[in-house]
């Protein structure tokens, strides 16, 4: 277990480095969100998701990034999983590259849907999960939804339907970083009490620190072992996590010049020591 934990912490660190380097290269991309969700991606892709990189396996688990703008982190993760060439990360946000600023299915069949128009990913995942249930497939379906996305009415249509159909092959993760374009989610349009909302909609509702690997592992375990209900993990994440001067800085479209990136990489090294 100790070894696994170090492995996942190390993976999160590698993902954070990629995010910083990728965003700094073109000066485009979403750095705060990527740093905030790196622990979550590490646990999901390097522990939880089964057969995710064998796209020919119909029983593989599926992953949806409804917050398609968290693309530096997503592409870095795909490269670390061997689904795209690691060298292609240098093309991130370059004209003509399939590594777009909002993740697109141009990238490959492991992008299960093109999201980015917020609030849509969960519906598509439920559709796939329904089909999988009818076909008696073993796949589980994982969706990362942004907290701000919960302001979209469609997400609540989907949340209502998933519990109505007892979708226990579905695991929703709310990346609760409390940040949207206009500032903090609390101030723009508060979601609270969010746990109560999901409970009242009939979901297996789990809350955790989304930057703590052990809590995330425990949460996914609880979700996997729940039957007859869909599960939601409300993962509280800290934007900019791992870079001391970026932590908690609410900036959806942070500009990220090279010199700041250099400082950030140094700060990141200190964080992991």
């Amino acid at each position: 277990m100790e070894k696994d934990l170090n492995y996942l912490i190390n993976k999160a660190n590698i993902l954070r480095k990629h995010v910083i380097e990728m965003v700094a290269r073109q000066g485009k991309g979403y750095v705060q969100q990527g740093l905030g969700a790196s622990d979550l991606f590490s646990v999901l892709f390097f522990d939880e998701l089964k057969n995710i990189n064998i796209v020919s396996n119909i029983n593989r688990d599926r992953f949806f990034l409804s917050t398609a703008h968290n693309s530096a982190l997503f592409h870095a993760t795909m490269a670390e999983k061997g689904l795209i060439n690691i060298d292609s990360l240098e093309d991130y946000c370059l004209d003509g590259s399939p590594l777009e600023i909002n993740v697109s299915e141009r990238l490959g069949p492991f992008v299960e849907a093109t999201c980015g128009s917020l609030g849509q990913g969960l519906s598509v995942a439920i559709g796939m999960a329904l089909s999988a249930k009818r076909r008696k497939l073993k796949s589980r379906f994982y969706v990362i939804l942004g907290d701000g996305e919960l302001q979209e009415g469609q997400t609540w249509e989907a949340i209502l339907s998933a519990s109505s159909w007892k979708m226990d092959n579905l695991c929703l993760v709310v990346d609760y970083n409390n940040m949207q374009v206009e500032g903090s989610v609390d101030q723009v349009m508060s979601l609270e009490p969010l746990i109560d909302k999901f409970l009242s909609f009939g979901w297996n509702t789990i809350s955790c620190n989304g930057n703590k690997i052990t809590e995330l592992l425990d949460s996914f375990n609880k979700a996997r072992n729940c039957s007859n209900r869909p599960s939601v993990i409300i993962a509280k994440t800290l934007v900019g996590k791992g870079v001391d001067f970026l932590e908690g800085q609410l900036s959806h479209n942070l500009t990220f010049p090279q010199e700041i990136a250099k400082k950030a990489l140094i700060s990141l090294e200190n964080f992991y020591e």
Binding site: Q120, V124, I126, S131
Partner: protein, 323 residues
Amino acid sequence: MNNATTHLADFTEGVNKDHIPKYYGEALCNLASSDESVVALCADVAPPTESDLFKKIFPDRFYMTGIAEANTIGLASGMARMGDIPFVHSFCVFITRRAFDQIAMQIAYPKTNVKLIGFLPGITTALGISHQAIDDIALMRALPNMCVIEPSGPEQIDSVINQIYKFNGPVYVRQNRANRFYDKNELKDFEIGKCYVEKEGKDIAIFSCGLMVGESLKAAKLLNEEGINAYVINVSTIKPLKDPLICDIVNECKYFITAENHSVIGGLGDAIASFLNENKVQYFHSKVGLNDIFSEGASTDYLMKKYQMNFESIYKTSIDLIK
């Protein structure tokens, strides 16, 4: 018990009160019986979309998705991505206008094999402007990869359903339900992209779709009495619009009318005009349709007359154009 059921019958189902067959619903069930990947979704309107037949025969492949069209479109996209062939049922207005972004992102862009099946096209509902789809063709036409079909009536629907099933990609079908019985010998063929000459002519051409094909045939009779020999062409595929027959007929007649149960903006009339422009065909053209105005809740006959969309209007518009 029977009396109570009769008393509580659904007035929106009206057309079926004389036990007229559900031609669409039966065609879909026939298809589903030979292919298990055919599934149906319905946003709370199973009887008036005839998907209640599917619900009864294939309950494990029928998904009642509630009054939530945006979610419904996403669900259908997900199912198609797993290899299902989802037929999604609602009224035309809700399945297109209400969930437009979802259709663009989850159906049109990824070319998922989803069939959007809409009922109550244009002004053919007494339920008022909320239920009248006057811009659905325009919306669906504007989406890349989307195929847009309006059969002339139940006589074409069986063929339409079989053809769109064979076509691997997104399709939108707008249709009216039958209000009478159809004999087997009335059934008509349909191929995606093909136009059908319902009546030969030479002086003017009337291109129409849906119930306007019937109105156009009536108008052609009136024109005939004036010595004007009008073509009537059933353009059941509005997109892709590519049949060279359209160019040939307009080259011959020079004058043509388009008649559609839809706004005159963005529908059949505009589609045919731009197709002819691309092919450098010269013409004189007038449109019959809802003239950039919202309608109201009333009977179809009343609305067709008031908003100048019935056979008399097609006739008058034809005379005006030629003179």
